[in-house]
Amino acid sequence: MFLAWRELVFARARFGLMGGVVALIAILVVLLSGLSTGLVNDGVSGLQRLPVTAFAFAEGTKTDSAFSRSTVNVDQAEAWKERQDVGDAAPFGNMLINAKATTSAGTQVPIDLALFGVEPGSFLAPAVSDGARLGDPDGLVVSQTVLDGGVSIGDTIVVDRLGTRFKVVGTTGDQRTFGHVDVAYLPLRTWQQVHAGAGPGDEVRDGAYEEATAIALRAKDGDRIDLSGGDAAAGTTSMTLEDSFSASPGYSAETSTLMLIQVFLYAISALVVGTFFTVWTIQRKHELAVIRAMGASTGYLMRDTMIQATVILTVSTAVGFLLGLGGGTLLTTTPMPFALEVAPLVFAALLLVGLGLAGAAAAVGRIVRVDPLAALGGQR
């Protein structure tokens, strides 16, 4: 402690350089963490906000295409409802459409929507912060992000090719997106018509009104659901809500790419700190030999170096995070998928400091090998 602090001050330029590198990495870590959170929100916030424990898809459905490929019969919800551990079960429709919104000012804007078909009275029906609840056959309850895009409650939305007309009746008031596309809730029956490809006045093919994408399940009192048992009874393939995130378009690729970049950043940071302290230890080899000849234990010298590492890492991570948060706050106002949340940032900061300490610890192992005998003689 005695020497650690005085050396930090004495060699402040060198320690400052390393601290600068760690601070720059910390800035990147904040920005990437924000981007990750933003991408997760954009990819699956529509699913996250559903009061759902698990989805039961058609038997044999693969995870990566579950929402676009699966078709179940609405009656399968009944089989799930009879399960002891299932509190509620309801059919859920999911499809992506292209449409044009006509605003009250008369201008037309192209808009992509993820249609969530739910029965208006079911537990899946969304709470509304503004406007009317789900109920009208042609009434849409939309994500707040649709309104942020310039569409207002009361505006008309026309589905491309089919010509089906919807009216925006309400909003959930928060961000609900699925695969970077804004979510619009609509009554299941209307969803079934669009899903069957029936425009206004068209004949709806047989069986269309029995179809849904999956059965949404809610556990009783937050309990887990015995999925394999239920699957056997209902003839479905189910997965938890979290597992179903991977069925959101692009979700796995995006999150794993960002994960990879972050893993590299943490590794680089640990290496930079480890390399610095290795060089620092080698430079001080003679000095360390003298201190050991004076009788200092290895523990005494290691503690000193670890104190230096802790101070540098904590200060530079804090500086980097403050700068990163400053820059990140500006980004949240842009259309970029970017969101700053406390938990992932705290985790990132602890990881950065922790791995840096590990790098420093690996370097101070060299202190053990410094021979106090080297202090004798005229090396310096």
Binding site: E7, V9, E287, G295, S297, Y300, L376, R380
Partner: protein
């Protein structure tokens, strides 16, 4: 500059009680260095007995084993045979951990060119030595007073790169003494100094040896400074002779 020799007690009188009262006792120490065909007998049945307050110089040609003797006496190297007693305690068979403890509790080193810590001021060099030794203020010397005593009071706030060679050596001597060691081991303290400066430093060493009643062994090539020493021994091919 005869303060050293004039205040010097008669070494012969002191030598007798070295075993009980502390000081340094080296008994029949042999040290072989290197391995295979390249083994060298650095120390060959060496006996040395230095009483507290006695200032012993060791001279000898290069490669004769002078530094090796300091290493063995200073608990830096374990001899192949023989015993080393510091302040009455046998350190020859100690583990590396115990050796480090003996070094911080019983030994002070003065190195060739001071070997001060670059980051520390003169005063902090002394405080640091106390910190390493785990001594509380009061157990050791008062760092500021000791710095005054070696004539470095006016350089207390200077770092090594702001000091001359002789000044560095003075701080080095104060650093070695601040923990009140039983034995002071000095390795060529004047190698980097001019004649007048060398004389000053050795005078200081002699004075402090007598003042602090520490058993001092100084290795040197410099025959001009031997007048300040109580006894001069010479080393040839690992053997020590009067």
């Amino acid at each position: 500059m005869t303060t050293g020799s004039s205040t010097s007690p008669r070494p012969v009188a002191r030598r007798a009680d070295a075993k009980e009262r502390g000081g340094l006792l080296v008994e029949g120490v042999t040290l072989t260095l290197g391995d295979g065909d390249a083994t060298v007998t650095a120390l060959d049945d060496v006996h040395l007995d230095v009483a507290p307050g006695e200032f012993v110089a060791i001279v000898g040609p290069s490669g004769s084993g002078k530094s090796s003797l300091l290493a063995v006496a200073g608990a830096l190297t374990t001899p192949d045979s023989g015993r080393v007693l510091l302040d009455g305690v046998d350190i020859s068979a100690a583990s590396p951990r115990e050796k480090a403890r003996h070094r911080r509790e019983r030994i002070g080193f003065v190195f060739q060119s001071g070997n001060l810590i670059p980051a520390l001021t003169s005063l902090d060099q002394l405080r640091f030595a106390l910190d390493v030794a785990g001594k509380r203020p009061g157990d050791g010397h008062d760092p500021r007073k000791l710095l005054e005593r070696v004539g470095m009071g006016h350089r207390a706030g200077h770092r090594p790169h702001q000091l001359s060679g002789g000044e560095r050596q003075r701080v080095g001597i104060a650093r070695a003494l601040v923990t009140r060691p039983a034995v002071l081991l000095v390795d060529e303290p004047t190698a980097a100094l001019d004649r007048a400066r060398s004389d000053d430093i050795v005078t200081l060493l002699a004075h402090e040896t007598h003042e602090s009643a520490v058993a001092t062994v100084m290795v040197t090539h410099d025959h001009d400074v031997l007048g300040h020493c109580d006894r001069v021994l010479s080393m040839v091919d690992g053997r020590l002779t009067e």
